[in-house]
Symmetry: C2
C-alpha cells in the first residue's frame, strides 16, 4: 500500500515537472526561420520527441534538496536537456549506433539527413553553453557558481564523460565481457551527465561543500543504476512501450551489465546502487524526498 502511494507520488511529481521543463524549453528554443531554419527545425525535432526530462528534473530536485528553488535553476536544467538531445542525435547516426527509431519516432538523420543531423547535434551542444552562460543565474550575487557548473557540465559532456563513454562503447562492441570496461562505459556515457545534473542544482542553490559532495555521490550512483536499468529494459522491456526494438544491444554485441554479470546479478547491482544513493542523502531533510523517490523510480520505470 505504501509502495503504491510512493509510486503515485513520484509519477505526479514527474508529470508536473515535465510540463514545467517542456514549457521552458519551448521558451528557450528558437523558432525555425531564416536561411539556417532547417537546422533549427532538426534541433527542435529531437528535443521535443518525447523525452522524460529526467536530467533537468534531477537538476531541479538537487537544488530543492539543499533548500533552493526549482524555478531558479530551470535555465541550466534545460541546457542539460539540450546536451542530452545532442548526444542522442550523434549516437543514432549511421557511423555510431545506426538507429532508425527512438521513442517510436524516426531518428533525426532519418528525417533531416545525416549532414543536418550532425549539425543539429553540434548546434544543441553550443546552444546549451550559450543558455548557461547567458541565463544570469547567480550564486549569492556572484556568478562563480555558474562558471563552476559550466566547468562541471562541460567535463561530463566531453572526453572525461559522455564522449569517453561513447568511444569505449563503440570500440568494445563484440569484445569479450569485461566488468571494468562496462563500468567505464556506463559511468562515463550515462552516469557523468546525470551526476552533473543533480550536482549542478545543488551548486547553483548554494549548497555547502558537504551537501554538494553528497548530492554528487547520489548522482553517480543513480547514474550508473539508470544505465543498468536501461540494459535490463533492452532485454525485458516491451518494444511498443519503449518505441524501439528490444534485444538490439545483443544483436550489436554491446557490452552491457546483463551480458557481463547476467540479469539477476545486474538487478542486485542496481538495487544496491539505489540503496547507496539514498544513503548518500543521510542528513538531508524531507526536501530531499524527491531525490529519494527518483532513485527508486529510476530502476522501476518501464521506458
Amino acid at each position: 500500500m505504501r509502495q503504491l502511494k510512493v509510486s503515485k507520488r513520484i509519477e505526479n511529481y514527474l508529470e508536473e515537472r515535465k510540463i514545467l521543463v517542456d514549457k521552458a524549453l519551448k521558451d528557450f528554443m528558437p523558432e525555425p526561420s531564416g536561411l539556417a531554419g532547417d537546422v533549427i527545425k532538426a534541433m527542435n525535432y529531437t528535443l521535443f520527441a518525447g523525452g522524460k526530462r529526467i536530467r533537468p528534473i534531477l537538476c531541479m530536485a538537487g537544488a530543492e534538496a539543499v533548500g533552493g528553488s526549482a524555478d531558479y535553476v530551470l535555465p541550466v536544467a534545460c541546457a542539460i536537456e539540450l546536451i542530452h538531445a545532442y548526444s542522442l542525435i550523434h549516437d543514432d547516426l549511421p557511423v555510431m549506433d545506426n538507429d532508425d527509431f527512438r521513442r517510436g519516432k524516426p531518428t533525426n538523420h532519418k528525417v533531416f539527413g545525416e549532414a543536418i543531423a550532425l549539425l543539429a547535434g553540434d548546434g544543441l551542444l553550443a546552444l546549451a553553453f550559450n543558455l548557461m552562460a547567458s541565463c544570469g543565474v547567480e550564486k549569492k550575487g556572484e556568478k562563480t557558481g555558474l562558471l563552476r557548473v559550466i566547468d562541471l557540465i562541460s567535463s561530463a559532456a566531453g572526453y572525461k564523460g559522455m564522449v569517453g563513454g561513447q568511444v569505449v562503447d563503440i570500440s568494445y562492441e563484440g569484445k569479450d565481457a569485461d566488468p571494468t570496461v562496462v563500468e567505464y562505459i556506463h559511468t562515463h556515457k550515462t552516469g557523468a551527465l546525470i551526476a552533473a545534473s543533480v550536482t549542478a542544482g545543488a551548486i547553483l542553490a548554494d549548497g555547502n561543500e558537504e551537501e554538494v559532495g553528497r548530492v554528487n555521490r547520489y548522482g553517480q550512483q543513480i547514474g550508473l543504476a539508470f544505465q543498468i536499468a536501461d540494459d535490463i529494459l533492452n532485454i525485458e522491456g516491451q518494444s511498443n512501450v519503449m518505441g524501439k526494438g528490444t534485444g538490439s544491444d545483443k544483436v550489436r554485441g554491446k557490452m552491457t551489465y546483463p551480458s557481463v554479470f547476467g540479469i539477476a546479478e545486474s538487478k542486485n547491482i542496481q538495487n544496491r546502487l539505489v540503496r547507496h544513493a539514498i544513503e548518500s542523502l543521510n542528513g538531508f531533510d524531507k526536501k530531499a524526498e524527491p531525490l529519494r523517490d527518483l532513485a527508486r523510480y529510476i530502476i522501476k520505470r518501464k521506458l
Copy 2:
C-alpha cells in the same frame, strides 16, 4: 620598402605568437591514456596538424589593443582554437565536405575512422567550454567577463554562427549564385568565430563598451575578408603550399565570392573590408598596430 618592413614585422609577430599558442595548447591538452585514449589522440591530431593559430592570435591582439596582456587571455585564446579544430573535423567528414586532406595531411576520419572523428570533434567543443569555465580569467576580480565571453563564443559556434553557416553552405551547393546567401555563409561559417575571438580578448582585458564595439566591428570585417581570401586562394593558390587541391570549391559547386562576384570584384570587396576594419580602430593607439597588421596580412597570405 615600408611594405616590406610591415610584412616582415607581421611575419615575426605571427611566428612568435604561434609558438606561444602551440606551447599553451600542449599544456592544456590531455595526453592520450586510458580506455578513451583513441579519442584524445584524435583530438590532438587535428589540433596539432599545423594551424596558423589566427583566432587565438587575434584574441590576444584584441586584449592588447585595449591595454591588456596577451598571456592573461591565453586560455580563452586556446579554447577558441579547440572550437576551430572541432569545426574542421566535422566539416571534413564524408557527410559534409568529404575532404581527404587538410594542410597536406590526411583528415581526421581518414586516420581514425568516422566514428572517432565525430566524437573527437564533440570532445574538442566540450573541452573548449571546459577550458574557458575553469581557467580563472577574471575581469576586475569578478568573473562576469568570462561568462559574457562564453556567451559570445558559444553563440558564434552555434546556429547563429558556424553551425548556421555550415548548414547553408552545404544546402546551397550547386545552387544559383546569390549575393545574400554567400554573405550569410561567410559571415556565419567563418566570420562569427573570428569576430568573437578578437572581441573576447577586448572584453577580458576590460575594454570599455566603445572599445569592445569597435574591436567587434573590426572582427566582423576581417572575418568576412578572411573567407573571401580563402575563396580566392582556392582558385589562385598553389596546392603544394595549401596542402589540398585548388579548384575544389568549383568542383563541388560551392557558392563563393568569386563564383558570385568574379575574382576582380571579390578582391575589391576584401580590400574594402580590410580598409573599413582598420578604420574601425580609429582612436586606438599603437597598441592596436598588430590588429592593423593582421587585417592587411589576412588578404595577403599564401595559405
